[in-house]
Symmetry: C2
């Protein structure tokens, strides 16, 4: 069991946590160096010196260890959303929670955190099975976020489809922006924030019905 801050209580718990982290780190390193498919679980467990059987007690499969960091990111996002002030409009709460988490993960910490984040995203995007699994995780995250929005707004769960629509709209814009940022060469965090803003502007143009006014170039 872990308390809310993530601090392990007993010695056993701490050791398990260390083993888990070691497995994620070793896997991450191997995946980024050799590629996901070319890396076997045997290589991962060899690097951490645990048995193959133990690996499967920590993770349901190879995908899970590969997406471990991404899922931590999602958890942060959901946390940030739940702690947003209750008087914010739903979309505002979503966007500010996002900005908050990106600032924490991509900007701060080490300078290399942004690089790591980008490399991981590219690996996921280039590995069909990982892309598929991460999209499934996104759908699951959307459900939880929609439930949270419904709670904030005091709606009966599942009775109003606006939370689901809003959350999916949010993720749509984010996905387009992230794709653009990922495929580009500029990997600065400020660039990501600006791309997101631009994407929202373009979406705003679509939503107000203004389309047929010629090309709207990027940047």
């Amino acid at each position: 069991m872990r308390d809310t801050a993530g601090t392990a209580t007993g010695l056993r718990e701490r050791k398990k946590e260390r083993t888990r982290e070691a497995l994620v780190d070793a896997a991450q390193e191997l995946f980024l160096r050799k590629g996901y498919d070319a890396t076997t679980i045997d290589e991962i467990v060899a690097a951490v010196e645990v048995s193959r059987r133990t690996f499967f007690r920590y993770f349901a499969g190879k995908e899970e260890v590969a997406l471990a960091r991404a899922m931590e990111f999602e958890a942060l996002f959901l946390d940030a959303l739940t702690t947003r002030p209750a008087d914010e409009a739903p979309l505002t709460a979503l966007r500010r929670a996002g900005t908050e988490v990106f600032a924490r993960v991509v900007d701060e910490e080490h300078d290399g955190a942004g690089q790591e984040f980008l490399r991981m995203r590219r690996m996921i995007e280039d590995t069909p099975v990982l892309l598929a699994a991460s999209l499934r995780n996104m759908i699951e995250l959307e459900r939880r976020m929609a439930a949270e929005i419904a709670r904030r707004e005091g709606l009966t769960p599942g009775a109003d489809r606006r939370p689901a629509l809003l959350v999916t709209l949010y993720h749509s814009v984010m996905r387009v922006a992230m794709d653009e940022w990922t495929e580009g060469e500029v990997l600065e965090a400020a660039g990501l924030a600006r791309t997101i803003e631009d994407a929202w502007d373009d979406m705003g143009i679509l939503l107000t019905g203004r389309w047929t006014e010629g090309e709207i170039p990027r940047t």
Copy 2:
């Protein structure tokens, strides 16, 4: 090789087409009866009397045979979009292409086609690996549809992010509507069409900035 109408030219081609269809049918039947995970490839090939090795020459894996029909549906959709009149606004073209294909697949043909469609969707939704793969296919379809929209509007490919945003918005609404339809008990095609309309209405409410006016119930 197949010509545009799908008619096989040689005898060899026709035989291959028949084998492929037999594999898809047998797989579909087994998946729906026993579940995807509980069905082995050995059982599928036994039902069609081909070797396991041959199966993998027709399909890249178990997922592919399970999603074969869904991918045909996607191809129909893309076809319908490309043949829409050029003077239709992008979103109009998308929505009419969708209605067109749904009418063809769910309404007409046999009466059981709608049932089949719904059962398949539920199986995909309930099988994590299939859900993941189908979401990945959706993303790929979105890319192609965005390219088609860009072409229709005479935009430089990749220079304007509005096609991507519009297509992803379209799929977002469709996904929310389809989810609602799938989990419900009413499986009539008219119900699906109405759910889609309602979802668009709700999205319209979101887009015009009107949110905080209390609960908007479904139906």
